[in-house]
Subunit: 209 residues, 2 copies
């Protein structure tokens, strides 16, 4: 595609085309939409993105994004702090919260182990999880990672790390189709998979039979 | 979907979800992508959008976006200023430029007549086109509007306005599938449709037979 008639416009199109899943034609349509909208609206849009990096904090307990030191989940007296659900990122927190089936708290890893992308255990918030377990206040760890090879690897790594502690490690039921991403699962299936969570040990035993 | 754990993040997601064709889940993925990217990159993204409204001008000749008073097409000595191609918006300018088949200049209407969306002839840059015609320097007007009912209506409105002048009004060949948008047409088909443009009068006569 040739260059655009305005460098300022070209820059905006290039920036929009960097968004995940957005090609150049879609970026062009978006830039035109923003250019046609009111100046205040385009400014609100731009400032909302810039403000994220300046104002968003991460919950010191679970790693979820937050406006304060503690996120609204960890800060709530209604949540059971002894049950921790381990997830890949905040989209999974949102997805599970939408099911209304979970009353514990979360632990956001910030990714999963992926040798292909050069992500090892040290890049993830796994140490924080072990510290929580060692504090002795937990009654259950629920693994809610994606049903992919990377998710399985991470599940197993965490399980081995926590195996020596007496805390039961469970995994959300594999009602979710293999290969699908957690956030795209319908709420009923995802909710059911939390209710029907299975002890991780019994899954390993079944695999080895 | 429930509210997000951070109001700042929620605002960013809501702004991204206003983009055309972007739902809330995609907006969430985009916001997370921007949050995970470097602060400088997120700032560059936000500023590129804000800058559009401040720095982009519209060519005083054709209405195309531009960094200067004249766009690069109207300002080029190589372009034939006597042939004017009438298009809906700048995406169509870019699409036709990419074919490399047109050496004239453009006239950007800024939309097409659409009673459904409340867009009448007065909302469009049609007066400017008539002024150009009255200046007596044109040899041909090419109508390159979408092949939709709204496009047809706008074609006919412009044709009637210019009918009394002696300037030939042509229309790009209807090799483009009916109902498709100009910008999504492949370059070969779109280029051919410029080369094989047909006198508008002969099309009306064929319709009436």
């Amino acid at each position: 595609m040739n260059s655009l008639p305005s460098r300022v416009f070209e820059t905006a199109v290039n920036e929009l085309a960097k968004l995940p899943g957005i090609g150049r034609k879609t970026a062009l349509r978006m830039a035109l939409h923003l250019l046609k909208s009111r100046k205040e609206d385009a400014e609100a849009f731009g400032m909302a993105i810039i403000r994220m990096h300046n104002d968003i904090r991460y919950c010191r307990e679970c790693g979820n994004i937050s406006d304060d030191e503690l996120c609204s989940i960890c800060g709530s007296p209604k949540r059971d702090k002894s049950i921790v659900c381990v997830v890949e990122d905040i989209r999974d927190v949102i997805a599970i919260e939408n099911t209304g089936q979970f009353n514990g708290v979360y632990h956001v890893l910030g990714g999963i182990i992926s040798p292909m992308e050069g992500i090892g255990p040290d890049e993830l918030n796994i140490e924080g999880l072990i510290e929580k377990v060692n504090s002795g206040s937990l009654t259950e760890i629920i693994l809610a990672l994606p049903t992919t090879i990377e998710g399985d690897t991470t599940n197993f790594y965490i399980y081995k790390k926590l195996h020596s502690s007496a805390i039961p490690v469970t995994m959300i039921a594999r009602g979710i189709s293999i290969g699908d991403e957690l956030e795209h699962t319908d709420e009923v299936t995802l909710g059911r998979s939390i209710v029907n969570r299975t002890p991780y040990e019994s899954i390993i035993q079944k695999k080895n039979q």
